[in-house]
């Protein structure tokens, strides 16, 4: 769905994106992670033909960007940084106007009303009525921005920080909406620095750091067991003595043991008369994975 080859963008002396080979496949829920200033927004804007690459190639839905962007953009729904709308108009009027600005002519006009209603329904703004957008809350604006991305019933969603401004319920609604759309065949590509959001939603992740794509893999692969067992026991000393040589790390009652099978280890400890309060395979969180491969980002000046 999205392929880039050696994609690079320089603004003067600053290199925002360095030789990125992105690979988003049909049906993915792809999360692009990275600290602030790592190049996520520049990358997203290049995919949509807003920013021109310095070098490298972009292919979206099988078409070259930016030369043939006009052919694929109608099939893409996009949210780029903050949502935007004309503040004196209602949400519905904004969506209708935006849709009318795009291609499609008479055919698009015939279905416009229905598509706008449907999009407002999908994002939970159906009952908002004629209120002008300037009276909207931050979360409502974000929902309206999502609705704007959905009015053309896109095959591909490109969402830059879609969770911004949403409260916990809004985040859950967003997750359910995107999962539902994805099951209906829409490929979702989103960028975020909210790791928990991506961890719960995405099937594949890429990590940008200082303009480079330092990691790109399936989330399940990244989070595969590490070959270590985490166990907690009130009899930590005895356990450590019993498993001498296999304990990699000890922190009070918590032990990290090199071993593949938690059930066997548990049976062995219980057989030896030692108490175990919790046991399970060690899984790295997305946070640990991302922090391990990224630098400090641009916020922190050191």
């Amino acid at each position: 769905m999205i392929i880039t080859r050696a994609l690079t963008k320089r603004y003067g002396a600053v290199t925002a994106v360095r030789s990125v080979d992105l690979d988003v496949r049909e049906g993915d829920r792809y999360g692009l992670l990275g600290p602030n200033g790592s190049g996520k927004t520049t990358l997203v804007r290049m995919l949509l033909g807003l920013v021109y690459a310095t070098s490298g190639e972009i292919e979206v839905l099988g078409r070259r960007i930016p030369s043939r962007a006009h052919e694929v953009l109608p099939q893409i729904g996009a949210l780029i940084e903050e949502p935007a709308a004309y503040p004196h108009l209602s949400g519905r009027a904004n969506l209708a106007l935006l849709d009318a600005a795009g291609p499609g002519g008479r055919a698009a006009r015939r279905t416009r009303r229905q598509r706008v209603d449907e999009a407002l329904e999908q994002v939970g703004l159906a009952g908002v009525g004629r209120r002008p957008v300037k009276a909207y809350s931050l979360g409502m604006r974000q929902r309206l921005g999502l609705a704007a991305a959905l009015i053309r019933r896109p095959r591909l969603l490109v969402l830059d920080e879609p969770g911004n401004g949403l409260d916990p319920r809004g985040i859950r609604d967003l997750r359910e909406l995107l999962t539902g759309l994805n099951e209906a065949g829409v490929t979702v590509f989103l960028s975020s620095h909210l790791l928990a959001e991506v961890e719960q939603l995405c099937t594949r992740v890429g990590v940008l750091d200082d303009g480079r794509l330092v990691l790109q893999d399936h989330l399940t692969m990244l989070r595969a067991p590490t070959g270590r067992i985490v166990l907690e026991t009130p009899d930590a000393d005895q356990v450590a003595a019993l498993l001498d040589g296999h304990v990699e790390h000890r922190d009070g009652q918590r032990l990290l043991v090199r071993c593949d099978d938690a059930a066997t280890l548990n049976a062995r400890l219980v057989g030896a008369g030692l108490r175990v309060s919790s046991i399970g395979p060690q899984q790295r969180t997305l946070e640990e994975i991302v922090l391990a491969v990224t630098g400090t980002g641009s916020d922190q000046v050191s």
């Binding site: 804007r45 780029i80 600005a101």
Partner: protein, 305 residues
């Protein structure tokens, strides 16, 4: 896309506020003239004002002369300067472009919506001024229009006083020295007057296109709507200064405001076409040059706002 731009223009409160304010100035002037019966002597002050006491139906021309030097260019510079920069600041530009709307199409649609805006303002001023003139200053007696040296224009009812007034008019007019063909006193029928006002409206609208194109170009360079509007106004002020400067005679034919007042020539008998044609020509040149520059800049620009 053009339709969308027009909807945006017409549904925006700012559009109507600026129209009402622009119409209010001539109205206030008319009220004062009605109350005091004081008008500037022919050839001084704003064009046509000296004539309106004799003929209220001439007030649209006087009103246009009142709003043309400042109000209209300011309004046009604000609307055109906001066109791209305002969308960029509001964030809506990127959403329009990924809809997708072609960048060239967007520029042309913006320019057309500015033209429509100018027409709306000029027509609103004309109609409210006609109503004001007829109701406050009295209806048309056999209208006659005279013209004075230096571009100041006087008109008088029945032609009896008109000739004398125009002949005496001093040269402190508005335009920078047009040719003198004093034709005072020649009567204009209502049809002729209407035709000539229509011609003047068309010419004034076109005169604003140069400013509009400059503001639109600046609007593609900066994301600040204020900056591009003020930039365009600065260009106009510079042009106005140079137009009155004898030392700058060489470049004067190419200044955007040089022929702005040529619409007054529609009210000469017969119509004096030379400056009107040159005015159309110079505005066309400014539109072509600055629209091309705007296109060259905008179509290759990274949209980071």
């Amino acid at each position: 896309m053009i339709k969308v731009e027009l909807v945006k223009l017409l549904r925006r409160p700012r559009t109507w506020i600026s129209v009402v304010l622009t119409c209010a100035l001539p109205f206030v002037v008319a009220v004062f003239i009605t109350v005091t019966h004081l008008v500037p002597p022919p050839g001084q002050g704003s064009a046509f004002l000296s004539a309106v006491l004799q003929d209220g139906a001439l007030y649209p021309a006087a009103a246009l002369a009142l709003v043309l030097p400042v109000f209209l260019p300011v309004a046009v510079a604000v609307v055109a300067g906001d066109s791209i920069a305002g969308e960029a600041t509001g964030g809506t530009l990127r959403y329009l472009l990924v809809r997708p709307v072609g960048r060239t199409r967007l520029l042309v649609a913006k320019l057309i919506s500015v033209i429509v805006y100018v027409l709306v303002v000029v027509l609103a001023v004309t109609f409210t001024a006609y109503a004001t003139g007829v109701f406050l200053l009295g209806p048309s007696q056999a209208a006659a229009v005279g013209q004075a040296p230096g571009g100041g224009v006087a008109g008088a009812g029945g032609g009896a006083v008109g000739g004398g007034l125009a002949g005496q008019a001093p040269t402190a007019g508005l335009a920078a020295g047009g040719a003198v063909t004093s034709l005072s006193g020649a009567p204009l029928s209502l049809l002729q007057l209407t035709e000539r006002i229509a011609g003047a409206i068309a010419f004034i609208t076109v005169s604003m296109l140069g400013v509009a194109a400059i503001a639109l170009f600046l609007s593609t360079i900066t994301d600040s709507a204020l900056g591009s509007a003020l930039g365009a106004l600065a260009a106009l002020v510079a042009s106005e200064v140079l137009v009155t400067l004898n030392a700058a005679t060489v470049i004067q034919p190419y200044l955007p405001t040089r022929y702005w007042l040529a619409w007054i020539d529609f009210f000469r008998q017969p119509v004096f076409w030379r400056d009107i044609q040159r005015g159309f020509g110079i505005q066309a040149a400014y539109v072509v040059v600055f629209l091309a520059a705007a296109w060259a800049n905008f179509s290759t620009k990274d949209i980071t706002a």
